[in-house]
C-alpha cells in the first residue's frame, strides 16, 4: 500500500533531521561537556531564517546557508560572556535563549505570523532539481546527515577533537597544557549550533509549514535523551538512538490506547523511565564512546 510506504519514508526523513540535531548536540554536550539547553532555539533560528528568506525569493541553498550562519553567529554571541566562566552559566543562559527565541517566533507577528505559523514555504531545490516529494527529499536529508556525520567524526578524531574531550574531562588541566580552552569551546558551540540550523532549514522546507510549537524546550530534552542513551561522545550511538526513539515516538501514535491514557503523557513517562534505567545500568549508553588505541600503529602486536 502506497500510504504505508510514504509513512516509512516520512519516518526516515524525520530520523535524518533528528539525527543531525543529535550529532550536533553530541558535539557540544557529549564530546565537549557544555551543558546547552537552547538547542531547539538554534534549530528554530535555522528554520525561520531559511523559510523567510526562501519565501522572499532566495534560492533554498543560500537561504539554508543564511540559517546555518545566523544560528552559528548567535551561538558565538551567547558564547562570549558564558564560555569564559566555569560551571553552569551556559546552561542558564541557553535556557533563557530557548525561551527568548520561542517568544520571538510567537510574538513578532509581522515577521513570523506568530502562533498562526508560516505556511507555503517553498520546497528545497538545488541546481534546478526540486525536492518536492518525501522520496526526493529523503535523498537530500540523507546526504545532509552523512555530511554532518563525516564532519563530526573527522573533527572528533583530530587533535582538535582530543582537546574538546579533554575540556569535558578537566578544563583546568587542559589550560595547564597551554591550550586556550575558550577558543575550543567556542568552536564546538558554533559548529554544533550551525548544524542545528541546517536541521531547522531541512525541516522547514520539508514540511513547508512551521510554527513556534516545533521549537520548544521539550525537543532539546528529547535530543538530550537520545545522546545519553546512545552513548555520549559516540556519533554512531547518537544515530542508532535517534532511529530507536524517533521510531518509538512516531510508533506510539498508532497504538490504540484506552481512553484514560493520554499518549503524550505516556510517551514522556516512558522516556523518563528509560533515561533513569539507562543511567543506572548503562551509564555509557548503548554504544559507549570509542576508545582510541595506539599500540597497533606502533607495531607492538600483543601475543
Amino acid at each position: 500500500m502506497p500510504s504505508e510506504l510514504s509513512l516509512v519514508v516520512h519516518l526516515l526523513v524525520v530520523i535524518t533531521i533528528y539525527g543531525i540535531l543529535s550529532i550536533a548536540l553530541n558535539l557540544i554536550m557529549g564530546v565537549t561537556g557544555l551543558f546547552n539547553i537552547g538547542h531547539a532555539a538554534f534549530y528554530g533560528i535555522g528554520a525561520y531564517t531559511s523559510a523567510l528568506l526562501a519565501k522572499a525569493g532566495v534560492p533554498w541553498f543560500f537561504a539554508m546557508l543564511a540559517g546555518v550562519f545566523l544560528a552559528g553567529f548567535i551561538a558565538f554571541v551567547i558564547g562570549i560572556p558564558t564560555l569564559r566562566l566555569v560551571g553552569d552559566y551556559l546552561a542558564v543562559v541557553t535556557m533563557g535563549l530557548g525561551e527568548i527565541a520561542r517568544a520571538v517566533f510567537k510574538n513578532w507577528i509581522s515577521l513570523t505570523r506568530g502562533p498562526m505559523g508560516l505556511p507555503g514555504i517553498p520546497h528545497a531545490s538545488l541546481l534546478g532539481f526540486k525536492f518536492d516529494t518525501a522520496e526526493k527529499f529523503l535523498l537530500l536529508s540523507v546526504i545532509s546527515l552523512l555530511l554532518v556525520y563525516i564532519i563530526a567524526e573527522r573533527l572528533l578524531h583530530s587533535p582538535f577533537g582530543r582537546v574538546l574531550k579533554g575540556i569535558r574531562e578537566d578544563e583546568t588541566a587542559v589550560q595547564a597544557l597551554g591550550k586556550n580552552t575558550y577558543r575550543f569551546k567556542m568552536w564546538a558551540l558554533i559548529i554544533g549550533s550551525g548544524m542545528a540550523g541546517l536541521a531547522g532549514s531541512l525541516f522547514a522546507h520539508y514540511i513547508t509549514f512551521i510554527d513556534p510549537s516545533s521549537f520548544v524546550m521539550w525537543l532539546t530534552f528529547f535530543i538530550f535523551l537520545i545522546i545519553m542513551l546512545g552513548g555520549p561522545g559516540n556519533n554512531l550511538g547518537a544515530i542508532v538512538a535517534t532511529v530507536v526513539f524517533v521510531s518509538l515516538r512516531e510508533g506510539l501514535r498508532f497504538i490504540s490506547l484506552p481512553e484514560w491514557l493520554n499518549p503524550a503523557a505516556l510517551q514522556q513517562l516512558l522516556f523518563g523511565v528509560l533515561l533513569i534505567i539507562t543511567t543506572i545500568f548503562m551509564p555509557r549508553g548503548f554504544i559507549p564512546e570509542r576508545k582510541v588505541t595506539y599500540r597497533r600503529h606502533q607495531g607492538h602486536a600483543e601475543n
Partner: protein, 250 residues
C-alpha cells in the same frame, strides 16, 4: 629563570601569601616547604596564572608574566602538576600525553579535520616521544588504558609524564612523592635529577616528605602563614630556629 617579587594574595580577609620573594636560576631544583595551609599551593597558582596576585610580580626568563592567562604561561614553558591529580579519566594514557605538545597543527580546526601531512607527522612524532617517556616511567603497558582505571600512583606518574611532554623549561611539582611507594619515589627522584643534569630543566617542588625534599633540592624556601621565614641550602634550612619553631609549633 624564575623570579617572584613581593607576591601577596588575599582571599577576602585572609592573607594566604604575604610579600613572598625568591629567585631560582636555570638548572636548579628548588624546594618549597611549610606546614599545612602555609600557602605553598597558592604560590604555585600565582606563578602559573590560575590565580591573580593581589600585589607583587612574577618574572620568567626575564619577562614579566604576572596575571597572564594560565594557558599563555604554559605556552611560555612552565608546566605543572596538581596536588590532587588532574588526568583525563575517560581518555587513555596515550591520549593524555598526546594532548600535551604545544603548537600542534592539528589543533587548528581545518588542518585537524583534513589531516594534512604536517598533522600526521607531528602526531607520529608525539606518539614516539610519548612511548619513550612511558618506557622511562615504566608505564608502557598502560598506554591504551583509560586513566580512570589506573591507581592513584599511576595517575600521578601519567600527570608528571604529561607535564614533561609539553617540553617545559620549568616544571612545578605539587607533592610528587605523596601516595607513591618508596622505591618508586627514589626512581622518580633519580629521573628528576637526570632531567636537570642532562637537559638543564629547572624544578620547583612542593613536598611534605622531608627526606625527599632534603635529598632532592639544591635550595629550599620555608613558608609559614604565607610568609617566607627562611631560605637556604637544605642544611641551613633544617638548622634554622624559625623553621624548627614553625614545624614543632613551639
Amino acid at each position: 629563570m624564575l623570579r617572584i617579587e613581593e607576591l601577596t594574595k588575599d582571599f577576602g580577609g585572609l592573607r594566604a601569601v604575604n610579600r613572598c620573594s625568591f629567585e631560582m636560576p636555570e638548572g636548579m631544583i628548588f624546594g618549597l616547604i611549610g606546614p599545612n595551609g602555609s600557602g605553598k599551593t597558592t604560590v604555585f597558582n600565582l606563578i602559573t596564572g590560575f590565580l591573580p596576585p593581589t600585589t607583587g610580580r612574577v618574572f620568567f626568563k626575564d619577562q614579566e608574566i604576572t596575571s597572564l592567562p594560565s594557558y599563555v604561561i604554559a605556552q611560555r614553558g612552565i608546566a605543572r602538576t596538581f596536588q590532587l591529580v588532574r588526568v583525563f579519566h575517560r581518555m587513555t594514557v596515550m591520549e593524555n600525553l598526546l594532548m600535551a605538545p604545544k603548537h600542534q597543527a592539528g589543533e587548528n580546526l581545518l588542518l585537524g579535520m583534513l589531516r594534512v601531512p604536517r598533522v600526521r607527522r607531528q602526531e607520529q612524532e608525539a606518539i614516539e616521544r610519548a612511548m619513550e617517556l612511558l618506557a622511562v616511567m615504566g608505564l608502557e603497558d598502560l598506554a591504551d588504558e583509560y586513566c580512570g582505571n589506573l591507581s592513584f600512583a599511576e595517575q600521578k606518574m601519567v600527570e608528571m609524564t604529561r607535564a614533561l611532554m609539553t617540553d617545559p623549561d620549568l616544571i612545578l611539582l605539587d607533592e610528587p612523592a605523596s601516595g607513591i611507594n618508596p622505591s618508586l619515589v627514589n626512581q622518580i627522584l633519580d629521573y628528576i635529577r637526570k632531567l636537570r643534569d642532562e637537559q638543564g630543566k629547572t624544578f620547583l617542588v612542593v613536598e611534605h616528605d622531608m627526606r625527599v625534599i632534603m635529598n632532592l633540592c639544591d635550595r629550599i624556601a620555608v613558608l609559614n602563614y604565607g610568609e617566607k621565614i627562611a631560605e637556604g641550602t637544605p642544611d641551613e634550612v633544617s638548622n634554622a630556629p624559625e623553621v624548627i619553631d614553625a614545624y614543632l609549633g613551639v
